[in-house]
Symmetry: C2
Subunit: 335 residues, 2 copies
């Protein structure tokens, strides 16, 4: 069925059903000019938005519409996780090309609903418009965190330990495999890495634990480790020293990087979209934080320390040589 057969009202009606996974707070969801939510005065509200453009953030050549939906939700939830909060309500704008079929949009929404249900997110409204050339999706997510408990980028102090919540580089390796399907990689490994890229997961539980544990700064790794380190250092007015040997790189990522003739560290530093959390902890809290995460079945790895701003952002290579950290995160407009 083509979109014009259904019409806009039909499409909206089709998309409006069954979108509330936490209905108690929703006075009015989809179907009015604005969503109406009853909030609690003891909480802070978090609001984040991400736009995904076909051919820039995803390709329908290798991502299914379900996967695009999952990713749209996950990237926003990841921002809320990086604040230490929890997601609650989302509004979604869809810019749809005329070639879109209703089946495709249904699948996209199936992915959105699936991920929204998993993270406890209500879809409370949205906008649906024509986008002549490309599918464009914008999701805005409202979340909460206990008043005073949000973890900012700006809280890192000299001497803090720097941690990440999981192995890095899998998303970049997965994207490489999407682009080079003929690479002779074990199919199970290839599937796993491609999924890391196509169906990322937000580290919500870890973010909540870390907020409660008193970490000083946090960011999600959406733009490569180097870019996120740079953001925390800039916001906190500090430097960092990160040790290559301490950075957790999945052995499967190394294997693919070898076949691709790429330094896996480049994928880790500059390849975006791992959506792990990067955070800093005062030395005295590092032990308790590790214990808490481990008790909850969450990983974390200490990759370095916060140093004074004047020392810069440094990377100790495997051989012991210290070099400036190249902050080459994904820049949409770089020349």
């Amino acid at each position: 069925m083509k979109l014009h057969e259904l019409g806009e009202f039909g499409l909206i009606k089709r998309l409006s059903g069954d979108l509330l996974s936490r209905p108690a707070e929703v006075i009015r969801g989809a179907g009015d000019d604005a969503a109406v939510l009853q909030l609690d005065g003891s909480l802070w509200t978090l609001l984040t938005t991400d736009m995904l453009v076909e051919g820039v953030h995803f390709s329908l050549e290798w991502a299914s519409p379900v996967q695009v939906g999952i990713k749209t939700v996950a990237v926003n939830v990841s921002d809320i996780a990086a604040m230490g909060g929890w997601p609650a309500h989302a509004v979604i704008s869809l810019g749809l090309p005329e070639r879109s079929t209703v089946e495709e949009i249904d699948e996209l929404y199936r992915g959105i609903r699936q991920a929204a249900g998993e993270y406890g997110v209500n879809i409370v409204g949205g906008d649906t418009v024509k986008s002549p050339d490309r599918l464009v999706i914008n999701l805005t997510l409202l979340g909460y965190v206990e008043a005073g408990r949000a973890v900012f980028r700006s809280g890192a102090g000299v001497g803090d330990r720097i941690y990440v919540t999981g192995g890095l580089g899998a998303s970049a390796a997965g994207l490489f495999l999407c682009r080079h399907p003929a690479l002779p990689v074990d199919p199970a490994v290839a599937t796993c890495l491609r999924r890391a890229h196509l169906e990322p997961r937000a580290r919500l539980a870890a973010g909540r634990l870390l907020s409660a544990a008193g970490v000083t700064a946090m960011d999600d790794i959406s733009d490569g480790l180097a870019g996120e380190l740079m953001e925390i250092c800039r916001a906190s007015g500090v430097g960092c020293l990160v040790r290559e040997e301490a950075i957790p790189v999945d052995p499967r990522v190394r294997a693919v990087a070898d076949l691709a003739g790429v330094d896996p560290l480049q994928w880790v530093l500059s390849g975006g979209e791992d959506f792990e959390l990067l955070f800093t902890v005062p030395p005295g809290l590092a032990g308790p934080v590790e214990v808490k995460l481990a008790a909850a079945g969450e990983n974390c790895y200490c990759i370095g320390e916060v140093i004074p701003s004047g020392s810069g952002l440094l990377l100790e290579r495997a051989g012991g040589r210290v070099v400036p950290l190249q902050a080459r995160g994904y820049d949409h407009f770089a020349g």
Copy 2:
């Protein structure tokens, strides 16, 4: 200056300054993963989002980037006004083509800032991405209304009077003039009508008054009067009878319609983007509502009555003939 010369970080920094017109509530605005707001438990939070795509919702052939920015804010504020609330915090996603210049984006943001300041809106965050073909702007607006005071589409009752807050058709006439600049219209009139299309104003003060006055249903006229009447009737389970002679049409609109060979009523019923408010009032409240609006310098016009659902949606033409109301609002996907 081209975008790639500035880079994404430079652009974000450029866009992040001076965006808070109500800083007291903002614990953290632009510059972190999510905005952090301290809310009040006695209020309902409103959340609305609108995507504007170049060539669909605006054309840079006749709209300046400043005007696109003004319109982006106004269309969202209009949704909040139609709930009876007030706008507070917004996040903006920009999808930017490579041809965009920094000057152009500065101008776009100048329009956004200007309108945001006027309506008391904080810009608390956003996302900036590449959009290869077209400029795409998504704004999500969080607003408030006193708990229990939101005006839904679904509250219209049989016997209620139907009102609009101002003259209609100016935006459609203005768009026609943008497309046909050679039409022999008085330049002052043409400027005024084009501005109605390019720099629409949200009826925020009227919306607040109407919410306090106890109107039963409300919608902003973003998709033509007929489409909005249909939405209220469908949501409320009622019909309507609207009198052509009672619909306020600006004489300048009639003059342009005559030159264009168009029935001005078609512009009013199907031409979108007037952003006036359409509302219903029980007969006993109609007098007090008119007095309150007049005292505040706001216009309103009674255009008909709510009738039982079985009677349908009816239009009494100027000669007295009653015909079905053609609900032909702007449908992005109509064949």
